[in-house]
Symmetry: C3
Subunit: 313 residues, 3 copies
Amino acid sequence: MRRWFFQRSLVSIKPFTREHVEIVFDEAKRMEKLKSANLLQNKLAACLFYEPSTRTSSSFQAGMLRLGGKVISIKDVKYSSVSKGESLADTVRCLSSYVDVIIMRHYQKGAANEAAKAISIPLVNAGDGTGEHPTQALLDAFTIFKEFGSIDNKVVTIVGDLVNGRTVHSLAYLLSLFRNVTVNLVSPVSLKMSPLEVNELRARPLVVNEHLQLDARLMSETDVLYVTRIQKERFASAAEYKAVRATSGYQITPEVLSSLNAKPTLRIMHPLPRVSEISTAVDSDPRAAYFRQMQNGLWVRMALLNLILNESS
Amino acid sequence: MRRWFFQRSLVSIKPFTREHVEIVFDEAKRMEKLKSANLLQNKLAACLFYEPSTRTSSSFQAGMLRLGGKVISIKDVKYSSVSKGESLADTVRCLSSYVDVIIMRHYQKGAANEAAKAISIPLVNAGDGTGEHPTQALLDAFTIFKEFGSIDNKVVTIVGDLVNGRTVHSLAYLLSLFRNVTVNLVSPVSLKMSPLEVNELRARPLVVNEHLQLDARLMSETDVLYVTRIQKERFASAAEYKAVRATSGYQITPEVLSSLNAKPTLRIMHPLPRVSEISTAVDSDPRAAYFRQMQNGLWVRMALLNLILNESS
Amino acid sequence: MRRWFFQRSLVSIKPFTREHVEIVFDEAKRMEKLKSANLLQNKLAACLFYEPSTRTSSSFQAGMLRLGGKVISIKDVKYSSVSKGESLADTVRCLSSYVDVIIMRHYQKGAANEAAKAISIPLVNAGDGTGEHPTQALLDAFTIFKEFGSIDNKVVTIVGDLVNGRTVHSLAYLLSLFRNVTVNLVSPVSLKMSPLEVNELRARPLVVNEHLQLDARLMSETDVLYVTRIQKERFASAAEYKAVRATSGYQITPEVLSSLNAKPTLRIMHPLPRVSEISTAVDSDPRAAYFRQMQNGLWVRMALLNLILNESS
């Protein structure tokens, strides 16, 4: 099964089975133990970022370097000469003659797939617009797995902006590979997940509920509270934005957690960066898992790079 | 002869003899076999790019890293604080106390020479404005050599924008080191190579012909068709630009190749990026050598870096 | 004493004793001998620069790479998405889960301290606005030490812009750890060091004199002439700027050195980049120490990185 990953592009989490996900989890746990290892010596990665994402780019670079590999970082390509009139296919074909893997962030949905098809080396999708961000979904799932020892039977409540919920949709898809998982989608009307995407999830072995607010009933049965950023620019008016933010449940504070009867075993996650969706007063609560989640991002990306580039171990 | 390269700056191809070029070819073939090697361990390069050139920068970085060396990448210096009032000499002198070689792209002709004279470590010119781009000329020549086994007796037809033909002029100069080479320069009147440059080439052991159009007679005797980018902004009017593009021979398509009687052994080259000078339908034609040419860029740059930084092997 | 540095953030030179400074000097001399060494294998640094500083960033990167370590470079964060609404604490906490040390340049005084407190890995302050730039002060002191064999009993005359004299103030503080040092502060009225800072220095075991001009009496007793950049934008009017520049002593030329009776053993220093404060005609004078000073920056930064990240040697 490990061989499934070798030299394979990671564009979407759609081809993953539960077994594939568990291989990634095993490899990520191994990476956490190793922390550094010379497994990818002489392997060279290009980080090709058409839009800035320092966080994702840094963790991929750190992962490659910690495995003894090397990195060329190509940033802000959108505004640089590389893309001046040149097709995406030509750009990645060019790079693919210099390196062993391309890690690409692009602003357009579908770009990762288009690029992967143009080259004969593997490509890792580090986010393609409103498309997918498969390594984020995998690190999210890995975090739930690590925090609870299992993903089966969990109630995962996702709060915030679900319109452009690239991360959210991929995560829910991954969760459907496990047994008896419930996903609660909580967002104001204007930030709801599209009916198309909700239906896609409901077609999977997954219980999907939609809510407009995070109330005590919902909170008290939640195992994982996954908070996403609510961006001001998504709202029609500043007033609407203010109204939503003021709603209890859209800013997680120690008071909200206690007044809504959050479980003592709750885990709070966030893809970061956060602005004020989660008060810093929550950081010291052992239920706050978002910094551990970020750390897991390194292990999961190291795992994936090693699975893709290293045939034997 | 190998020692000639050691610690020598590569500013221009003018000091090269045929023997020097053949040493580069030999070393490049060796690099192609090695692909990666720890020949430059503990060697540190600075990529100092005063104007963006992701492609050239990436292949130099990849070359250095594949040889076990290390790289500091300094980009878009033009707009950064480094150059704020500081002389080029001071900037490179500074860098030269940190690294073992400086790879520099600059927007001004002559900058590479000025910089090389200011420092006691070698400098590699990665393009200085309308000046030279010697590694491009060498990789172009290497490509012809590899595709045919020899450069002697070849007819090389160069099509497109020859006004600012930095690459073209250096390539033609290099070709003149070989025996019985014919260079056909094909461009619309407004994009012709300057008489000064043409005369310089004619003073060399080289047959140089000028043409306004790529016709069947020319194509049918051509061994290497070297296509360059025609940039819209070079034309006085959009109409003129359109007129030239519409001319058969300024966009290479499968139809053009066949209607103009291109040889079955023809090789089509392009320094890339291409916009539409060569139709993507040509990519799958075995005569399309531009992606192999790009790949050769890695081997040639590895060869040069190793020759310059590695005394023994 | 060496252990004092291990895993310690370097935010300010204030906690340094003379013994600490001498450990840095010893380690820097060792680094100069080693030039390259695999002492920090598997160590990963993040260079997090909120404002551009190619010179400082390059020497830190070169230092880390020469020690066998690895580097992720994150530049111009000020304008990138990382900082969009995210707190500095969250940003560095994130990075600290990927790397072993953060080297940070920030535009705000106090930022280095704030960041260091948020993380459990060491942070090296590469300049925080009008705050401190401790590695610059240490490399300056190291240069004086190397040029004379000792810092004790030296007369150090600092000329130029002392208003935002981040470097100058830290250097003077460091000098006060040595015996019988005199610091002459020379600047036009509008660029004087703040009375608060002058008094802080006078409270130390250090003779501090203020002057408006560099005259022959001052020059002839000076061991180290430390010149700083006078930036046009600091002046109320272009006329005032011109007047100051025209004053003998604000542009160091061979003529000024000779007419003001500079010692044959004088050493001229400058943090670079220089614009025209020191004429290039001075560069070949053996008393010009600024290029050696810049080179020392590499050895001192290597020394500090090794002391901080390497427990044993």
